[in-house]
């Protein structure tokens, strides 16, 4: 299938995000327009301070644009209140963080159930789903372990499984492999490739060219603006 045939699931329309620091204004994002289509595997790169995390936070509905529109599922996120924003995060987005961010006092299974808990969907079904996803990331036997009993790579796999629990529109990963050694990094990237074959949409932020090379396209940010797009792979992907 051609990329242009796939539906747009998230779209930035001239997004600005400005921080007021006393008298001067930091333009962390300064007019960004991007479309993310279902099945995309997009890497965001750029120098430190270029606005990558800011962009990802807005994509993840953790933050709102100062101006411009951010459309997810046909709605303009900029106009939603805090509760509605939480709702969108809970239903449509899967987060993967650099430092894994599992909740230390909960077991693997309980960590996996957190996203569904806030939608009142915890029950036997959520448990089956957690077991299935834990299996899929290779941690089916570690459900009752606490995060600190796992290695960094294993923790990140749990985090990926957790991000998939709510069947999100897309996964967002900020330096997901930044805290891992190169072998473990490769395992995680292989897992991403796996997910992509299942048409999971993935957006990653990275400093690492090797990581970015695994994505289909790379978006380069500079001073809060889109500098250029690299296409690493032919337009038609996914079987």
């Amino acid at each position: 299938m051609d990329r242009s045939d796939r539906p747009v699931i998230a779209e930035f329309v001239d997004v600005h995000r400005h921080y007021r620091m006393g008298d001067n204004v930091v333009r962390a994002l300064n007019g960004v327009s991007v479309q993310i289509r279902k099945g995309d595997y997009l890497a965001i790169m750029g120098r430190s301070g270029s606005g990558k995390s800011t962009m990802l936070n807005i994509l993840g509905c953790l933050d709102r644009p100062t101006s411009g529109a951010y459309m997810v599922g046909g709605r303009d996120v900029a106009r939603l209140d805090d509760d509605a924003l939480s709702e969108v995060r809970g239903r449509e987005i899967g987060f993967i963080f650099q430092s894994f961010n599992l909740i230390p006092q909960l077991t693997v299974l309980e960590n996996l159930e957190v996203p569904l808990f806030y939608q009142g969907r915890v029950g036997p079904e959520s448990r089956r789903k957690a077991e299935y996803l834990a299996d899929r990331v290779g941690l089916g036997k570690r459900l009752e372990h606490k995060p600190l009993e796992l290695s960094g790579g294993q923790q990140q796999r749990v985090a990926i499984a957790r991000a998939l629990m709510n069947d999100p529109l897309f996964l967002l990963a900020d330096e997901a492999t930044g805290n891992l050694d190169s072998n473990t990094e490769k395992e995680i990237l292989d897992l991403f490739d796996d997910l992509r074959r299942d048409e999971v949409t993935i957006v990653i932020v990275t400093h690492n060219q090797k990581v970015a090379d695994r994505a289909d396209r790379t978006l380069w940010l500079k001073d809060g603006q889109v500098e250029r797009f690299d296409v690493n792979r032919p337009a038609e992907v996914a079987p």
């Binding site: 936070n57 993840g60 953790l62 933050d63 805090d82 509760d83 939480s86 709702e87 995060r89 809970g90 239903r91 987060f95 963080f97 961010n101 599992l102 909740i103 230390p104 006092q105 909960l106 957190v114 996203p115 808990f117 806030y118 939608q119 009142g120 915890v122 957790r162 709510n166």
Partner: protein
């Protein structure tokens, strides 16, 4: 919904267990507050119930007029053989009867004597009184009969024993129709035994259960009106030691008390050799002082629970700061502000409810120990326990509110960046 709440509580417990020492110390603040409140209430309630029962035993429809031995002056004590003359007279009892025609007037004389039967001996009080005594002091006959008008008329040498005295003098056999010796040469035939009464006592302070009762007339004839006081070795002339004025209803008490005060005051004011006791008034005073006591207690309780609450707030603020990142994660995973508020409120609630529960247990044990060690009556009322527990739980919620609000209003992005 219920299951979700159960999960939040479970989660709260887990988080609290992360800092066992800190959580237990915080809990202790509430614990001791609750325990001390319950214990104090129990002691207060016990004391007041004991007082109330005592006044009730005197009879709430009675007004008691008693003879009081006046302070001895230098002059009167100079002679061993002078007679100390004080107190109520037969004539006064008759006057009371005329003034208050609807009241039952019971005359009482108390004479201290050693009472003997076989080997058993006991110094006690021989109460000389009238048949109406039984009604006025709300006592009942256990065995045999009570004193009658005929006994009075014939000045019979019969007696009725108090419950304890009967046990003491006749541990094994039936006392009825046996003879006891009062003093050196006064014999009385036992015609009845009273039921145990408890605390009620005459002016001497010895409970009726330990007394022996004889007809008024016999007492006068046998012992005379001038009696040697066994403890001071002085002769005292007192016609009546007590006049019980028994009224038909408690609504007549106030008026009767007024009449009696007005009647007796001119005669006895100077020497102060009588006193009027109105159990109903004492009862009302006790109830009023109990209300005051409870108010003071409520203030102390609020202060101690306030201190506990501040402890909780302190710990919850620390917890919220420590778990900023967790809050960020939860927000990213779809938690709304209300979920975060819920989580930390429940945690604070669990903390204080736990303290409350243990405090209740401790608060119920402490009064038992007090009763055991100090022989002080204590009463733990269920409503006091419930109140203390509810207040402790409420303290947790109230003082958890601000920390929870702070947690919920963190910016998710900032929270996630927090180290």
């Amino acid at each position: 919904m219920i299951r979700d709440f159960g999960r939040i509580v479970q989660l709260g417990m887990k988080s609290l267990l992360l800092h066992k020492l800190r959580s237990s110390l915080t809990t202790a603040g509430i614990l001791f507050g609750v325990a001390s409140v319950i214990a104090m209430l129990a002691v207060g309630e016990g004391a007041s119930q004991a007082a109330l029962e005592q006044f009730r035993d005197m009879g709430v429809t009675n007004v008691l007029v008693r003879s009081v031995k006046p302070e001895e002056t230098q002059q009167s004590s100079s002679s061993m053989w002078s007679v100390l003359d004080y107190g109520l007279t037969y004539a006064e009892a008759d006057r009371i009867e005329r003034l208050l025609p609807r009241a039952t007037v019971v005359r009482v004389r108390e004479v201290q004597r050693g009472v003997m039967r076989g080997e058993a001996f006991r110094v006690t009080v021989v109460v000389g009184t009238e048949p109406s005594f039984l009604l006025a002091s709300n006592m009942k006959v256990a065995e045999g009969r009570w004193l009658t008008d005929l006994d009075m008329l014939n000045q019979e040498n019969v007696c009725v024993l108090g419950h304890k005295l009967a046990k003491l003098l006749f541990p094994l056999d039936n006392p009825i129709d046996q003879t006891i010796l009062a003093g050196t040469d006064d014999r009385f035939r036992v015609v009845g035994v009273l039921q145990g009464q408890g605390r009620a006592a005459g002016p001497s302070g010895i409970t009726y259960d330990e007394c022996v009762f004889v007809p008024m007339t016999s007492s006068r004839r046998r012992f005379g009106d001038t009696i040697r006081n066994l403890s001071t070795n002085r002769f005292e002339l007192t016609e009546l030691h007590e006049i019980k004025v028994h009224l038909a209803g408690s609504d007549e008490v106030e008026n009767a008390a007024m009449v009696l005060r007005e009647m007796l005051l001119p005669m006895h004011k100077v020497r102060g050799d009588t006193e009027i006791t109105v159990p109903l008034e004492l009862l009302q005073q006790e109830e009023a002082s109990k209300r005051r006591f409870n108010l003071v207690l409520a203030v102390i309780a609020s202060i101690s629970l306030l201190v506990g609450g501040i402890g909780i707030m302190n710990v919850m603020l620390a917890t919220v700061t420590e778990r900023t990142r967790e809050i960020g994660i939860r927000r990213a995973l779809g938690a709304k502000k209300k979920h975060i508020v819920q989580q930390f409120l429940v945690e604070a609630g669990v903390l204080s409810a736990l303290g409350g529960a243990v405090g209740v247990a401790l608060g119920m044990i402490v009064p038992k120990v007090i009763t055991e060690v100090f022989e002080e009556k204590t009463v733990v009322l269920p409503q006091h326990v419930l109140l203390a527990f509810c207040i402790s739980a409420a303290v947790g919620v109230v003082f958890g509110l601000y920390p929870a609000w702070r947690a919920a209003n963190m910016d998710p992005v900032e929270a996630l960046r927090h180290e």
